[in-house]
Symmetry: D3
Subunit: 69 residues, 6 copies
Amino acid sequence: MKISARNVLRGKVKSVTAGMVSAEVVVELSGGNEIVSVITKRSAEDLGLKVGKEVSVVIKATNVMIALE
Amino acid sequence: MKISARNVLRGKVKSVTAGMVSAEVVVELSGGNEIVSVITKRSAEDLGLKVGKEVSVVIKATNVMIALE
Amino acid sequence: MKISARNVLRGKVKSVTAGMVSAEVVVELSGGNEIVSVITKRSAEDLGLKVGKEVSVVIKATNVMIALE
Amino acid sequence: MKISARNVLRGKVKSVTAGMVSAEVVVELSGGNEIVSVITKRSAEDLGLKVGKEVSVVIKATNVMIALE
Amino acid sequence: MKISARNVLRGKVKSVTAGMVSAEVVVELSGGNEIVSVITKRSAEDLGLKVGKEVSVVIKATNVMIALE
Amino acid sequence: MKISARNVLRGKVKSVTAGMVSAEVVVELSGGNEIVSVITKRSAEDLGLKVGKEVSVVIKATNVMIALE
């Protein structure tokens, strides 16, 4: 699948924490940065997410803000 | 300002392309990855965004998806 | 690519209208419904979107609201 | 209420799964497709969502991505 | 229409600026605050938005962040 | 931090309800309106959110819809 979302970054799952509906997934990017994602618990199960698994994080450009420190 | 958004990553502006309402901003993260953001043209002007400027990209965790290749 | 987004629906591009930064894409789903998407003009070009092309629309579940008439 | 969101599709609730804060609602569209929504548990209660209820799903165009298989 | 979005606030349109695809709409809330919205140009036209018109702004709770100064 | 998000409104926390992954935070704006936010439980803890605390709500303009009653 090729997607319109402009941000697709490779990494490895560092942790998965599931609630009843949502799951929080932490991904360590190749560049060293960490990205936190909240998806449905069902998606986390369907994708078989577990620590160490290679994944991509996908982010639509309109969901990225810019800040100055 | 400290914000609830879980993803705040440092980088430098690589390009700014403005339309009439929106602007597309490409940021090069320290780790080497690139992130594309679409914000309002007005925000890009208010923040004085230009090539080389140090910025952070800010992304709420619910806006991050996970994909398997 | 298999993605965490829970909504992936097949259809055909009905129209593409590009501005300087954004593009509006109308997709006719197999079931008869129409879905309107706004992506970056650059993504529309990268995906080679044109009338009649077979595509999927992808929507994260947290971006779907429910309403009563 | 008439809303700026470009996507308003009719359907029937197929399932509701509630956590402590969020609820996952599956809606079967008239055209046959299924849409998954995550809203607050409180909203699901306020709207009286239950299996078989007629609802609309509402999606802002900027939250719709396009993918090629 | 009754919607799952938890935030529906009354106000008056203060300005509308249209590009080719998007439009920026500024709304002055009854409480005195101002809210900026970006919708499609087509939606702004369909709703007949113009200065002084009474509208509601609608925001899904997952799209609201919290910050400390 | 100065952020591209066009909507930054001051208020006080009225309630915090935490699930396992998400937390619902109600903020009373100075102008009298109430805003509901859903963030991660972890963010609510990191920010030390509790009833009465002064906070800002932050909303990206593309996440604001307009409706007519």
